[in-house]
Amino acid sequence: MEAARIEHTRPWMNRPAAAYNFAFLDEGSKREIRRKTLKAVAIPGYQVPFASRELPIARGWGTGGLQLTLSLLGPNDVVKVIDQGHDDSVNAVSIRRLIAETSGAATTEDTAKATLIQSRHRIPEERLRADQILVLQVPQPEPLRRVERSERLTRRKHAEMDYSAMWLALYEGIVRWGDITLGADYPVMVHGRYIMAPTPIPRWDNEKLHQAEHLTLFGAGREKKIYAVPPYTDVIPLQFEDYRFRKESFDGKACRHCGSTDTFLDETTDEATGFTVYQCSDTAFCRKRRGEELP
């Protein structure tokens, strides 16, 4: 029902498909994005500026990720789109539809079957393979923004590897609260060179970027930046020798649907009992575990 309503509110749906280039973007734009993507892959963790295009969805709703996906897409690709772990949120559905309608690419909800996965706020639980690309939507590409407002100065700090202000921010948290208090979007050091914002994924997902088999690309539409973590790259969360990075703990908790104790769990309230319960945040993975066949 929801999807049908969206179809009518999206202007590109009402025009004939022939009015658009394959995968919506013109070839010039795609070339620009691919060039900048190659540069990003060559300099892991470095933010490459690119000429961000207008898309028929609002900026800040994943246009950076979408532009990456559209520029990478071929007719044989199988695309999966997720938003905070769900394939069926409004945002995921409309992005998936735009991709499918403008390219004819097949879509799936099964992580293992996808060649291209666009996501926001999560990395799928299933380990990604070398033949898969993960595209993450980025709200704020600059990890140093919390300590330095000027773009000119953050660029200089990256160039000079001048990261003491970032360490100071971690230190102040420890002085004030007794421990590192950063949650999602926990800053990471990429291959011993650049500090990078992994996007607001939970800390749970950070290790999925470290020495991964797959390529991860990050696109920020509003901020006009692309960056990348190529396969087999070190991605280490910032931590002190005596105050270590720790991922979220779900000790003693299990998914109410599949019983999983090794996945990232969302907290929710059982409608019937009013009790707090837990369930897999990656809903497709949860269904697959329960033996369901995914579309």
Binding site: W167, V175, F240, D242
Partner: protein, 298 residues
């Protein structure tokens, strides 16, 4: 609050110490020039002759520093005195790379391979700022993060020197802050809550964090009450005595210079008009401008 526990001698001795020789110039500056403005044909060789102001009457360019030559020996205190606008702050900011010098040379005996540091890469300059020089600014707002903890202000320098053990960093910060008489109980308070004299002392402890051989102090006591001034001056003298740090002390106050400096140079309109042993300059000033300064002090 996180506890600070005592631990002796766990820091490495800085690598430059072995290279310092008492009879060798630690810092040497030649032809240091800083211009604000484009310059013109009538001021393009500003180092020659006496000027009536540092401003070129034809093009309006300010020649804040005109071809300064000086040096600094290990453990020595060099005073820099001169009226407002004579170029003192600009000079130390150029040495600390806060301002880009228009021309000139600066060499440090502890990094002989670098040649002219004014032309060094930004990474190299950063190394010098973090390890070889400490700076105390005229305005504490330039030198401190007022709303971060005082210990954090010191710690930031230690992070820049790749020390990432919070316990050790806090012990070092506590030691440095105690050295400048900031009570341990207040080490995590932000400098914004401190008095002017305390802020200057936090600046000094931050500047000393990585044991630099050189400290640059720009009007460190200006604007402080007399009693507070005396305490800061005592502190500076004891730091020189105990740590053997060489210093460039900038002040428009000859009284401060007399208390601290072994040698003094007098600046006017962007140029050095006289330099020599502080005692000599105070007893027997040669330049008419210095004579004026000294007599107004008496």
């Amino acid at each position: 609050m996180i506890q600070v526990t005592e631990h002796a001698a766990e820091r490495a001795v800085p690598t430059w110490t072995a290279r310092i020789r008492a009879d060798e110039k630690l810092l040497e500056v030649r032809g240091l020039t800083k211009r604000y403005g484009p310059g013109c044909s009538s001021c393009h060789q500003p180092e020659t002759g006496e000027w009536h102001s540092s401003r070129c009457p034809r093009c309006g360019t300010i020649w804040a520093c005109r071809s300064l030559d000086f040096h600094l020996y290990p453990g020595e205190i060099l005073g820099v005195v001169g009226e407002s606008g004579s170029g003192k702050s600009t000079m130390v900011k150029c040495l600390y790379f806060d301002e880009e010098a228009t021309s000139g040379e600066m060499t440090l005996s502890v990094c002989p391979g670098d040649g002219n540091l004014l032309q060094a890469s930004s990474q190299r300059k950063r190394y010098v700022r973090n390890h070889l020089m400490g700076m105390v600014y005229q305005n504490p707002y330039l030198g401190l993060r007022m709303n971060f903890s005082s210990s954090g202000n010191v710690a930031e320098k230690l992070f820049a020197a790749s020390q990432f053990h919070v316990g050790r960093v806090r012990r070092r910060a506590a030691e440095l802050l105690e050295r400048v008489e900031i009570p341990l109980a207040r080490m995590d308070e932000p400098p914004a809550r401190f008095s002017g004299g305390m802020q200057q002392r936090v600046q000094i402890s931050r500047a000393l964090a990585n044991d630099p051989p050189i400290l640059l102090l720009d009007e460190v006591t200006t604007g402080l009450d007399l009693s507070v001034q005396a305490r800061v001056l005592d502190l500076i003298r004891s730091i020189r005595r105990e740590l053997g740090v060489a210093m460039i002390v900038v002040s428009h106050d000859l009284g401060v210079i007399r208390m601290l400096a072994d040698r003094t140079m007098v600046m006017r309109h962007g140029a050095i008009v006289e330099h020599g042993l502080t005692d000599q300059i105070l007893e027997d000033p040669q330049h008419p401008y210095t004579q004026l300064l000294v007599h107004s002090l008496l």
